[in-house]
């Protein structure tokens, strides 16, 4: 950790100003009480306070190593006291040594020293306490500021991911292309255009209603998928063929809303968008001893190199949402061949309570 005083120019200034004030204070005190020459009093005051100022800066380093233990136990307390004792001792002997070297005996420094030694010890202990307090105040202020900025960062991240979610829900490519197709239909087939507008609206409403963790039935999810694929089918016509093979008993199974949407989006994106020929998309679901096995299959144009590599976040998110909703009994599997891609979801059969 960086030194809380030395790391900032303004703090260094304040630090030494404070010691200057203390030095003047002590000098005046001795000057009035002991009636010594002012110069001697000032010299003594500044020598002792500059020395303490230096010691006070240095004491940070042992204190910081104590602090990193981050526990205020007996050992730490003992260490504080030992360091404090050492500092006060060094300060007093240091001051005496320097002053002794500077002043000749005749100025009566020894007398002053003997008179003030008790005061000096008390002042040393007090100053040491104040220094420790200062360090702690600065440290906690710094920590508070750090915490606040981390909080702000976190909030920004959450907001961004919410925005991203919204954007994927809206899927601009799909939306604008669909609107373009509808625009085309208004010329060639107006009743169909109206039908498509209704379908697009229903689909958008379903995807935007998204309290995403709200469970829906498989039946609802499939209805939504059909809306989506119907809309894609106006764009791609006979290029896109969709079929379903769902066991009736699966229809009431609960799943998080929009769980399947990424699978159909992937199937159209990697299948239909990338192919010049016909692509088949097929959904099947079977009930198997308390579990639903649901698969979304699509054919692919053989040997296609996609223009963009998928990031894989779509499927990862599906797996994550399944885990949140069903716990670890659920899993997602992918089967890939040269000509097809299948995503298989396996999850426990949950049903809405009838009451």
């Amino acid at each position: 950790m960086r030194h809380p005083i030395l790391s900032k120019r303004s703090r260094i200034t304040i630090w030494w100003l404070a010691w200057a004030v203390l030095a003047v204070g002590q000098s005046l005190l001795f000057y009035f009480i002991y009636d010594i020459p002012l110069v001697l009093a000032l010299a003594d005051g500044f020598i002792s306070m500059i020395l303490f100022g230096i010691l006070g800066l240095l004491v940070w380093f042992p204190l910081a190593s104590l602090k990193s233990r981050d526990k205020f136990d007996l050992v730490t307390t003992a260490n504080f006291i030992i360091i404090g004792g050492f500092i006060v001792y060094v300060w007093i002997t240091g001051t005496r040594f320097i002053a002794g070297a500077l002043f000749t005996e005749r100025v009566g420094y020894t007398g002053l020293w003997n008179n003030t030694i008790t005061y000096r010890i008390a002042a040393g202990v007090l100053l040491y306490g104040v220094i420790i307090l200062t360090y702690y105040l600065i440290l906690s202020a710094v920590r508070l500021a750090e915490k606040a900025s981390r909080q702000a960062q976190l909030e920004a991240m959450v907001k961004e991911s919410e925005l991203k979610l919204l954007r994927t829900q809206l899927n601009p490519h799909f939306l604008f292309n669909s609107l373009n197709s509808i625009s085309s239909l208004t010329v060639s087939d107006p009743p169909k255009a109206r039908e498509m507008i209704v379908k697009l609206s229903e689909f958008m409403r379903y995807s935007l209603s998204g309290k995403n963790e709200q469970p829906v039935s498989l039946k609802q999810e499939l209805e939504n998928a059909r809306l989506y694929l119907d809309i894609e089918k106006i764009r791609f016509r006979e290029k896109l063929v969709y079929s379903e093979e769902i066991m009736e008993s699966c229809m009431n199974a609960l799943l998080p809303s929009m769980l399947l949407q990424p699978l159909f989006e992937n199937a159209t994106k990697h299948g239909v968008y990338e192919s010049t020929g016909q692509i088949i998309i097929k959904t099947s679901a079977v009930y198997d001893s308390g579990n639903i096995v649901l698969s979304v299959f699509n054919t692919m144009d053989n040997g296609v190199i996609p223009a963009k590599k998928g990031t894989g976040t779509g499927l990862t998110n599906v797996a994550k949402r399944m885990e949140l909703f069903y716990g670890n009994e659920a899993y997602l599997k992918v089967r890939r061949t040269e000509e097809s891609f299948t995503v298989i979801l396996n999850f426990p059969f949950k049903q809405e309570d009838n009451n």
Binding site: P172, H173, N180, S183, A307
Partner: protein, 250 residues
């Protein structure tokens, strides 16, 4: 006045129909052909030499940008796309125009007038499109394939088949498993857009596929060559050698 020959290249039938409908009352424009993919587009452009093409960017097999890259003689191009955050970029780069679907008749006319203006003045037109290609707006992630011209057709090379890329004046030469092909692109572009996990610029004039390197040999003092599986030797600069060592962990 002679009519402007136009080709529509767009994979979605309704979008083609709509465009055709919108162009119906323009008697200065004649649609000579329509294509649902880039291969057809390439063939039609070569055979019929249109003055203007409407080109979708997102299409199966090859994108609109990739198609433009392999053309010798480029007609005027109006891009059409549904959503592209780089559309503004394309405008800055002075592409003849960039229509966001769905677009209005007015917007289309505006684009057509710009194109007509350019065609009637017979301005050289290569530059704006080149600039656009160099920035390749539609792709965010790394490149996954390189499209080259092969005979009268085109060939899509997956990155795994590319052994290295060498600088050739204003072009680059792509060396792949079946030969080599010249491409109008910059080294900088490939350095920035090939996946950095497998492709490394080891020299001012060479980008190499790390998976094709078998060993490094000293060449002269302070100089190395990378020996590829094919036996070819690629010079490696001193900084290239340093990054290569980091990448290959030795």
């Amino acid at each position: 006045m002679e009519k402007i020959k136009t080709i529509i290249i767009e994979d979605e039938a309704p979008a083609r129909e709509l465009l055709r409908h919108m162009l119906k009352d323009r008697d200065d424009i004649t649609i000579i052909s329509e294509c649902a993919d880039g291969f057809c587009g390439l063939k039609e452009i070569k055979e019929n030499k249109p003055d203007l093409i409407f080109l979708d960017i997102q299409m199966p097999k090859i994108s609109g940008f990739e198609l433009i890259e392999v053309l010798d003689e480029r007609p005027e191009v109006i891009f059409t796309t549904a959503f592209d955050q780089y559309a503004i970029k394309a405008f800055e780069l002075n592409a003849i125009d960039y229509l966001l679907k769905p677009f209005s008749k007015n917007r289309l006319d505006e684009a057509l007038n710009k194109a007509l203006d350019r065609i009637s003045r017979k301005e050289p037109k290569a530059n704006p499109i080149d600039a656009l290609i160099a920035h390749r707006p539609e792709e965010e992630g790394p490149v996954t394939r390189i499209v080259i011209r092969k005979g009268s057709g085109i060939k899509i090379i997956p990155l795994a088949n590319i052994s290295y890329i060498g600088a050739e004046d204003d072009y680059v030469m792509i060396y792949y498993n079946e030969g080599k092909a010249l491409k109008q692109q910059t080294m900088k572009y490939y350095e920035d857009n090939l996946p950095s996990s497998t492709f490394l610029r080891v020299h001012r004039s060479y980008i190499v596929n790390l998976e094709k390197i078998t060993r490094l040999e000293p060449y002269s003092k302070d100089n190395y060559v990378a020996v590829l599986i094919s036996g070819e030797k690629i010079p490696v600069s001193r900084t290239g050698y340093k990054t290569l060592r980091e990448k290959l962990n030795f």
